[in-house]
Amino acid sequence: MPVENSGLAVLSDQLVLVTVLLYVFAMIGYALDLGFGRPRSRARAAGTEAGADAGTEVPADAVLATVGGGTAPPAGGTTGPVEAVEAVEAAGRDATAGKEPPSWASRAGTVAVALTWLGWAAHLSAILTRGISVNRWPWGNMYEFVVAMCLAAVAAFLFMDLRYRVRFLGAFVTVAAALGLGFSVKYLEVQAGPVVPALNSYWIAIHVSAAIIASGLFTVAGVCGILYLVRKDTALRLPSLEDLDRIAHRAIVISFPIWTFAVIAGALWADKAWGRYWGWDPKEVWAFITWIAYAAYLHARATAGFKGRAAMIVQLIAFACLLFNLVGVNVFIGGLHSYAEVPG
């Protein structure tokens, strides 16, 4: 039967604390970058309406090279918005050389990214050591599930940063992850141990992993959504509305099918474990509601009149349903899901 290795379990607990510290330090770095670095929004406003607008702020050749106006250099007009922004930003740096922000600010941002990667590594190790210490998949209860979901959120952020340059989100994602971890250590932690027989199945790897990955991505989108709604138009240092909208949409487009898969895998597991594939168990009901709400967001965003704020609100309602399913259903309602083990 399971070999419990308490040394590793203790190490795992300590690694979680290390992770929280690293995320908090990273958050400070991101905040310095946001606060004292280049204001993002002005450069952004220039970048989106490429061409004419951008021309007012940056040297004309920079615009043409990247965005391709009517004069058509070879195969112009082919850049995606992101690259355009980068180029415009680069150009903007030169153009506004006079009021160059302190260089330590952007270095703080770089350090913050490094710290986030480090924290993520510690986070991952914490989960691995816990899994190894009890010889099973390390998501057998609420504590483990929330810790893994935070890992997925940070991972989503880091990988999106590699592709789309979303460093401006760093402060908010790390703070969300640190809070999530703190919350689970304080209120949810249970001693590492084997799971009840119902959870002893390969489906845990499929169903729960999918739920975790989707939840992590949804969290990044949720962070974008909250920022979107609280952001004032004058707050030039915060990420722009278009950025937030774009990142949230990307995250959800990726995670929605994963979520769908998680629900279907859940149904397959339920067919094996509970003798029916769908039985309107509270968790099933809320998974379904969450699914509909995210589908509503995707539709709303595609509908002319609902773009922007309204779509974001729908997205946040969906995120609230997700969190309710995760915490509320386990704590207030209960049901067949036996992982809802929380300390009494």
Binding site: P197, V253, A273, T303
Partner: protein, 563 residues
């Protein structure tokens, strides 16, 4: 859906797809029944109505998660009725304990699916036509398009068309132009998704009509054969023929539960397993099967699940005439799952001269604690049977009223004579109204260990605790809709992914006969033509820019990276 939504006017929610030839539902001015019917049908099948119904469907399922539901949590429903009968009755009037069987819930999903079908069929027709239609001719000014480029190259219309075809565009050509379109899979995926949703509903309905589910409790050593009569509870679908149950049978040889023995999690179950001997059909060879949680027994699509277990101590009851009136296992209800402290009821209708009713507690790992005996572990380390009460009299079995096998009928119990009572307070719910006066019962404090015997006072006989068996609760289900539901769900996901990721995009190429001097004209290459390329996506998001650059590179290999 997105195609039409996107073309909709700003501020207008989703409308009926106009390509379907349906006008937006305008309320008829005159009062013809046909006009009203048409208006109703159009409104019902508009995408907006479908979406609203979808949200309603989600909203309507919320009460089903807030109040306990019959068939899922019957005990908690009963609790509701006990705690606040007035409120519970009102809730019940609105079907709030049966949300998923409520007429208003059914109304929502039936309307939803009619709406989906009415919406999807015309769109499928439009899509089919569109699949056969050629991409449209280019607009006058390609340079105005969101993505455009121009260059001089030795490219002909035919070559441009071939290269675009090579990139899997659907291509048509005209004098001096090529028109190419790609991404029809978006709408295909979308339709697939919606059709699959309808398919899922049909599969679920099929399961409800042609499937059945039943429960049965089996003690180690006993058997079960799949006939309606063998079930403790049997819930057939409306179309199920009792003759058509899969004719398999099995015996439960042994049940094993393992628990954590030490530490903070002492007593937590680790594994359950029931060893079965299965006969798939009459006359077939017997096979062994290890039935576990998560590993149901499958006999041609009829599944047997291990859903619960408990103890069934065995007793031998000898009556006042010296005859063995009962000898066998008594399945006990689990009163406390963490220690498996259980409550057992033995009814001995055959006892002479009077029937006997016996109430017992079963402690799998009994230890004395503060003058009481309690169980401290769910495994049967020190099984003890604690007599709560032995009663003589009429069990009331003959009066035609159905009785629970797990409890003595309280009405009859009042009239029975207590022979033995446990010292101290009997457990809640099992306290009989004792007739006072003469013949006070003998008190019994010590529990019985296996092999021990309790002699009843006044020569009424004896009870011997002979051993410990376990029972398993099994659920047996047959749901012919399982596989179709799975297939349609998989198709729904596929359709969804397609409709979310594929973009409909168009590329036009115009080939002018002569090169137009741009910057440095290259007269050294004769046959050079001026090429204009424009592209657009009909759905936003994504990086069409990258793909457009690749198209340019394919059309004009001279330029390595179009950027």
């Amino acid at each position: 859906m997105s195609e039409t939504e996107r073309t909709g006017r700003a501020g207008v929610a989703v409308e009926t797809p106009s390509p379907a030839g349906q006008k937006p539902a305008v309320r008829p001015a005159s009062f013809g029944a046909v006009a009203w019917a048409r208006w109703f049908w159009r409104t019902l099948t508009s995408m907006r109505t479908a979406l609203i119904l979808l949200f309603l469907f989600a909203l309507a399922s919320i009460p089903g998660s807030l109040w306990p539901q019959r068939g899922i949590a019957d005990a908690r429903v009963a609790q509701y009725f006990r705690d606040d009968p007035g409120l519970a009755e009102w809730l019940d009037r609105f079907w709030l304990f049966d949300v998923f069987r409520a007429p208003w819930f059914a109304a929502i999903y039936l309307l939803l699916f009619i709406s989906l079908i009415g919406c999807v069929l015309p769109r499928a027709a439009v899509h089919l036509r569109e699949l056969r239609r050629k991409p449209p001719a280019p607009p006058r000014n390609l340079v105005r398009l969101p993505h455009h480029a121009s260059f001089d190259a030795g490219l002909t219309v035919e070559e441009a068309a071939a290269r675009l075809r090579g990139r899997r565009y659907r291509v048509t050509t005209g004098p001096g132009w090529v028109s190419a379109e790609k991404g029809y899979l978006r709408e295909t995926g979308n339709l697939l998704f919606h059709v699959s949703l309808v398919g899922i509903l049909v599969a679920v309905a099929m399961g409800a009509l042609y499937g059945y589910r039943g429960n049965v409790l089996v003690v180690e050593g006993e058997g079960f054969s799949n006939t309606v009569a063998a079930y403790d509870r049997y819930i057939p679908g409306q179309q199920v023929n009792a003759e058509s149950l899969e004719p398999f049978s099995f015996t439960v040889d042994d049940f094993q539960a393992t628990y954590i023995a030490q530490g903070e999690r002492r007593g937590q179950p680790l594994d359950y397993s029931a060893r079965l001997k299965v006969t798939d059909a009459p006359g077939a060879a017997e096979r062994d099967y290890d039935l576990k949680v998560n590993e149901p027994l499958d006999v041609n699509g009829t599944l047997t699940y291990l859903i619960d277990h408990g103890y069934a101590p065995t007793f031998k009851v000898t009556d006042g005439k010296g005859q063995v009136a009962y000898d066998g296992p008594v399945p006990c209800l689990v009163a406390q799952p963490s220690t498996f402290t259980s409550e057992c009821t033995i009814k001995v209708p055959d006892a002479q001269p009077q029937q006997l009713g016996i109430l017992m507690g079963f402690l799998p790992s009994g230890v004395p604690m503060g003058g009481e005996w309690v169980s401290v572990f769910p495994g049967a380390a020190n099984p003890l049977a604690q007599v709560y009460g032995v009663f003589a009299g009429d069990l009331g079995l003959g009066n035609g009223q159905p009785q629970s096998v797990y409890q003595l009928d309280p009405e009859s119990l009042k009239k029975m004579k207590p022979l033995v009572m446990k010292a101290g307070e009997p457990p809640a719910g099992q306290k009989p109204d004792l007739p006072g006066g003469a013949g006070a019962p003998v008190t019994q404090a010590e529990p019985l260990a296996v092999g021990q015997k309790l002699d009843l006072p006044g020569g009424a006989g004896s009870i011997e605790f002979t051993g410990v068996k376990e029972w398993v609760a099994l659920q047996i289900t047959h749901d012919p809709g399982r596989m179709p539901a799975l297939v349609f769900s998989a198709l729904a996901v596929l359709g969804l992914v397609l409709s979310l990721t594929v973009r409909r995009r168009r590329v036009w190429v115009r080939v002018k006969n002569e090169a137009v001097a741009t910057g440095e004209p290259d007269r050294s290459a004769p046959g050079l033509r001026h090429i204009e390329v424009g592209g657009l996506t009909r759905t936003e998001g994504g990086d069409f820019g990258e793909e457009f650059a690749e198209v340019i590179a394919a059309l004009n290999p001279g330029v390595k990276d179009a950027r």
